[in-house]
Symmetry: C2
Subunit: 299 residues, 2 copies
């Protein structure tokens, strides 16, 4: 496999990726207090990092391309609402690799300015996923006007600036601290087992010796049994598939890219054999990374 350039351990890898002053440059989408920023702090908690917020997911990829940052951190899936299509597409579009993973427990909270109460509220601001995750709570307040915003943390910041008891945001407890807001009601997300999985992306393919998860994206000939053939290579080599996600192929309506995650380390010869077989059967094949599986972390 040409993509496999080297096998390092995490320490070596970080040494190469630091600035002259020893800091690692990391980019995320959103603002301070966003779930991406929290995931970044947790993943790099033992490292000296300098972080840069970006407005869009693609801006993070562009900064990696321009070598402005060494790592980007991006949400790829929520355990209640599913995969984040745009990040899947960007992973295929840019020639970068997943080098790590972090799963963060997400709680949504209703935040208002000091002294505001449930009965004062007329308008609520949040990211559409904030509304979607709080849908059961919101059903009790059908008169509230819901206004979608780019980011839960930006909506909390806006509430602080507006300084009106009529306006509330759905966001994290961390943003309540940051913007000096009251938590009017906590944990309003209907699914109390609500995690977001973040990936750490790098322009270089790095495999740490403790890597136990592999991601790839493929497209297959449009004929009966082609996906079955691919899954057969996993089964025959006793490889555990963790996830399959279908995403549209733009110029071929109702045909799909398959993003497949499975357990393993590329140093395993069974796995190398299965991957070689899959690559041969695919119209499109890209290895997205071999990294350490992220545990579920409570905030």
């Amino acid at each position: 496999m040409g993509a496999l350039k080297r096998v390092t351990n995490k320490k070596d890898e970080l040494e190469e990726k630091t600035c002259k002053n020893g800091q690692i440059k990391v980019g995320y989408q959103g603002v301070e207090g966003s779930f991406s920023e929290q995931a970044m702090r947790k993943y790099f908690e033992e490292d000296d990092i300098s972080s840069s917020p970006f407005e869009t997911f693609e801006d993070v990829f562009q900064a990696l391309k321009d070598r402005e940052i060494s790592y980007g951190i991006l949400p790829i899936e929520n355990s209640s609402t599913g995969g984040i299509g745009e990040v899947y597409s960007l992973l295929r579009k840019y020639d970068f690799y997943i080098v790590g993973e972090m799963c963060i427990k997400i709680t949504q909270n209703l935040l208002g300015i000091k002294g505001s109460k449930l009965e004062d509220i007329e308008e609520v601001y949040s990211h559409p996923q904030g509304f979607e995750q709080s849908v059961e709570f919101l059903k009790d307040y059908p008169h509230w006007k819901l206004i979608p915003y780019k980011n839960t943390a930006i909506s909390a910041k806006y509430i602080r600036e507006e300084n009106s008891k009529k306006k509330a945001a759905i966001a994290s407890k961390r943003t309540a601290e940051l913007y000096h807001l009251d938590i009017i009601q906590q944990n309003i997300n209907f699914n109390q087992d609500n995690y977001t999985r973040f990936i750490i992306v790098s322009a270089d393919f790095d495999v740490t010796t403790d890597a136990d998860k592999i991601s790839m994206v493929i497209s297959l000939p449009h004929k009966p049994g082609s996906l079955y053939q691919v899954l057969r290579y996993f089964a025959e080599n006793h490889l555990n598939m963790l996830k399959i996600e279908s995403r549209p192929i733009l110029d071929r309506p109702w045909e799909y890219f398959f993003y497949i995650d499975f357990e393993g380390n590329l140093q395993n010869p069974h796995l190398k054999k299965a991957i070689d077989q899959i690559e041969k059967k695919s119209n499109f094949f890209k290895l997205l990374g071999n990294y350490r599986k992220g545990r579920n972390i409570n905030q």
Copy 2:
């Protein structure tokens, strides 16, 4: 299979589903001029229908449950941006069936009040999918404020009411006619092969004799090779899988429901055998319908 109650042809089925005055009651989400309404008109073009708009996807399912309507029509997938998670979840939550399908070509257009020009615009209103599908066009106007709305047609209606040259909507040509707006720029969606697939949902399981597509949702034991085992039954019985969509299982983070579409009619004995085998291997199994595949229709 207990779910298979009867096999009818479309004419018989419609005769049973009419009101006393001969009209078929159909519900859709959105307002007049929405893509759902257009898909409904096209699917039922030879029938006498009375249609009801509903505010949310779930309202359509609730109206079916209350027998207020005989059919609901809902978008389930876009060929550029992928599956619509909420509709997949509602299909599993309610005990209803897919009885038909319609694929409509979607074009997005920039609409303004009479005489408005590109250089006048400061704010643009649309459904988030309207923005997402027009992302390449919008990159040339980074100063425009993008304001997400529930529905493309509602945003067009709002532009008409506001009557300001500074405001524009991204919506269909049909809404330009309905609300007497100018098309400032047509076909601004980046993917010119952009279709949305709609499903027709009924509270009763109906199989027409010309049905050629089957949908099911399953969950599988969380162990290596379980999805492979299921796909093997398709391959061994020469059944063509059309699509697999993974959706989260709420209380089990990183486990999935698989929504599988494949070709066939339930009267085929090979297919019945494969389905029985799959049902036995599944933790959860629901047959979602056997219906006629929708062609891609240009508007």
